[in-house]
């Protein structure tokens, strides 16, 4: 008997244990469900973006690649790059290949203004959003059409005119008041706008233009060397040189020519693009201003695209973001720039800051907020954030 009672007691005990286990398991299941629900809400759905860019090996291109991959990891977006397409047909082909590869959106740096509608068309036909970096749309008719197009999200572009004007002011402030200007050959949208800003500066009396030289269409560094040489040896009163571009070793060539002509101290120089010997040139007092640090441009376009892909477009209309150049005007700023901006070990914004540029993580974020962030991109802002 006793044994039966013991058995019944044991069965009840087992049933009670089983119930407790069931309740605990149920609670654990609910907790897991809740946590998994929380995880899916904490991270946006995985997306894939195709980036069409001139290259990712040069200074600017490699910085863009590094930063977009970093931003992609912050926003759960896989970023694929297509480089080396220098005409519209090649860029259209790149867009088509991206569509075939199943990307959810395209970020493009179009190289030929008139070809933009063709590249956009590929995205529109695939019903995926398209955004541009580093380029606006110069053709007014195309601009009007594209800015109203359903899948065109907008673009980020630098205020080149202002940068040209600002560089001339920096040069004049450093003593370069009688200036020789080296301009790119007409036809390049960004260089034309830089020239326009510089010319405005001359007209408004910021400095006096002594002479100007227009580079050939595809210049080598020899063209900068020659023009600098001729400026220095022909215009004895000249004390400043400004250039709309210093690529392919041009700025380095101009700096070397100033040294060779023993004009250090007499002739100051400002330029776009960062010369390889900029530190030395700042130290010697040859270089007094640089307009650089524009790789964040593509991040702002990427953020516009990311918001759209996450289902939270920043605006129902196309967004145009005006991005800044960072001006480096002395050796200390050059060192700070190398440390905080042009350093492969650092990023201009943290993952958290990038996430806060999206409505997914920051529901009150707007296109105006993005513009404010872009406008704040200055050396002093970089330093202030670095010190935090």
């Amino acid at each position: 008997m006793g044994t039966r009672i013991e058995k019944e007691g044991g069965n009840e005990m087992r049933r009670a244990k089983g119930s407790v286990l069931l309740v605990v398991a149920g609670m654990m299941f609910l907790a897991w469900g809740a946590s998994s629900q929380k995880a899916s809400a904490a991270e946006p759905a995985k997306k894939k973006v195709g980036v069409i860019i001139w290259g990712t090996e040069d200074g600017l291109g490699s910085s863009v690649k590094r930063m977009l991959e970093y931003a992609g990891s912050a926003l759960n977006i896989e970023v694929q790059f297509k480089t080396g397409d220098y005409d519209t047909e090649a860029q259209v082909k790149a867009a088509e290949n991206f569509v075939a590869a199943g990307v959810d959106g395209i970020l493009c740096v179009p190289l030929i203004d008139s070809g933009i509608p063709k590249i956009y068309k590929v995205a529109e036909q695939a019903k995926i959003p398209y955004v541009q970096a580093f380029r606006r749309i110069d053709d007014k008719k195309n601009a009007a059409q594209l800015l109203a197009a359903p899948y065109f999200l907008g673009y980020t572009v630098e205020n080149e005119e202002l940068a040209g004007y600002d560089l001339l002011k920096i040069l004049a402030k450093a003593g370069g008041t009688k200036v020789g200007a080296v301009y790119n050959s007409p036809g390049s949208s960004f260089a034309d706008r830089r020239k326009s800003g510089i010319e405005k500066g001359f007209v408004s009396g910021v400095a006096k233009k002594v002479s100007e030289f227009t580079l050939p269409l595809s210049p080598t560094s020899e063209a900068w060397v020659e023009s600098t040489n001729n400026f220095i040896n022909t215009f004895k009163e000249l004390n400043g040189i400004i250039m709309t571009s210093g690529s392919v070793g041009g700025a380095e060539g101009a700096i070397a020519t100033i040294v060779k002509n023993k004009a250090v101290g007499r002739v100051k120089m400002v330029t776009f693009d960062q010369p390889a010997n900029s530190n030395e040139a700042f130290e010697k007092g040859i270089l007094v201003g640089l307009a650089t640090g524009i790789y964040t441009d593509s991040l702002f376009s990427f953020v516009v695209l990311a918001n759209k892909l996450q289902g939270n477009p920043l605006s129902p209309k196309a967004i145009t973001i005006s991005a800044n150049y960072i001006y480096v005007t002395n050796i200390q700023e050059a060192a700070d720039y190398a440390k905080y901006v042009d350093n492969p070990a650092t990023y201009p914004y943290t993952k958290e800051e990038i996430q806060k540029m999206t409505k997914f993580y920051n529901p009150s974020f707007t296109a105006d907020d993005l513009q404010k962030i872009a406008s704040k991109w200055t050396m002093s802002d970089v330093l202030a954030r670095a010190k935090k």
Partner: protein, 323 residues
């Protein structure tokens, strides 16, 4: 005595163009142009002349080579890059750039000879390949060398390099079999072939010589900036234009000056023309147009010198025409 007078006359005629041009610019802009500037222009004329000394071998045998700029680019990046890796210093750069240019030129020549297609097509193909190569080697970063290299483009080393390049070009063109063959092929391929000259070999060697001078030009270019960056999209094609202009002027002057001497005269002329445009305030974006117009006028005048001579003769004796 007669030969001395003839030589003097030839020298005067050869230097007349740059001399008159310089005097004209000096008279027009006396406050800007002075004699010390002439020295600067002569130094500045050295690098383009080096390239043109190579290019004139090709032009003489009717080869059109648009890969010269790309050869300059790749030989500069490869030569300087390898020399930097091996810590060979600036003389290592000089040697390796020249060698790279020579080997690339030789390869171009061999490809041209094997494919039997027009040189202009082969050279454009080679240019595209080389530009792509410039974007691949050293991770597409190009090359940055120490500022020690600046001394190569500064006095007196630039003068020494220019003189050595001139002497080499002069020696090959005037005293080596290749030079004779180049002139023979230039005067007529069929006749040259009938005389037993292997035209294909001559052309391969012309590509090689041009490549070698492009290699020399590449380290001179590096000596101007210490940087050579990868290029693409046919941007190197323009490099050869100035060299072709110098070579064309030299060809026009061949009656009074040796081709190699004429190239340097052409290079100096272009520099004077450029400085004239700069000081005149004429929009420099039209510089190439002005140079092209000058070239057309100059070549037109030299190719129709018979008309000028007969006009001159008529002016000197007005009755001669009526007789």
């Amino acid at each position: 005595m007669k030969s001395l007078i003839l030589l003097g006359k030839k020298v005067l005629l050869a230097v007349a163009i740059p001399a008159l041009l310089f005097i004209a610019v000096r008279l027009l802009f006396p406050s800007r142009i002075n004699l010390s500037l002439l020295l600067v222009l002569l130094m500045q004329a050295i690098p383009p002349a080096i390239l043109a000394w190579g290019v004139c071998f090709e032009i003489k045998v009717s080869l059109w080579d648009f890969s010269v700029g790309a050869i300059t680019l790749v030989s500069g990046i490869v030569g300087a890059g390898v020399a930097e890796m091996l810590h060979l210093g600036i003389w290592g750069i000089v040697a390796l750039c020249t060698l790279s240019g020579l080997l690339i030129g030789l390869s171009t020549g061999v490809i041209f000879s094997l494919l039997k297609i027009p040189s202009i097509i082969v050279s454009i193909g080679i240019m595209l390949i080389l530009e792509s190569v410039s974007g691949l080697i050293f991770k597409g970063q190009g090359v940055i060398v120490s500022s020690d290299i600046f001394k190569l483009a500064s006095f007196p080393l630039n003068l020494v390099i220019g003189f050595v390049a001139f002497a080499l070009a002069y020696y090959i063109y005037n005293y080596r079999r290749l030079g004779f063959h180049v002139r023979a092929v230039g005067n007529g391929i069929t006749v040259a072939r009938l005389n037993g000259i292997n035209v294909d070999n001559v052309r391969i060697l012309c590509f090689t010589v041009t490549g070698m001078f492009a290699g020399v030009f590449s380290f001179m270019q590096l000596a101007g900036s210490a940087v050579m960056k990868a290029q693409n999209n046919m941007t190197t094609m323009g490099v050869v234009v100035d060299a072709i202009i110098c070579a064309c002027i030299a060809l026009s002057l061949e009656g009074v000056a040796n081709l190699i001497v004429g190239v340097f005269i052409g290079s100096v002329t272009i520099q004077i023309l450029k400085i004239g445009i700069l000081v005149s305030g004429f929009p420099s974006m039209y510089q190439q147009v002005v140079v092209a117009i000058f070239l057309l006028i100059f070549m037109g005048l030299s190719s129709r010198s018979d008309l000028i001579h007969s006009a001159w003769a008529r002016l000197r004796s007005p009755t001669a025409g009526r007789a």
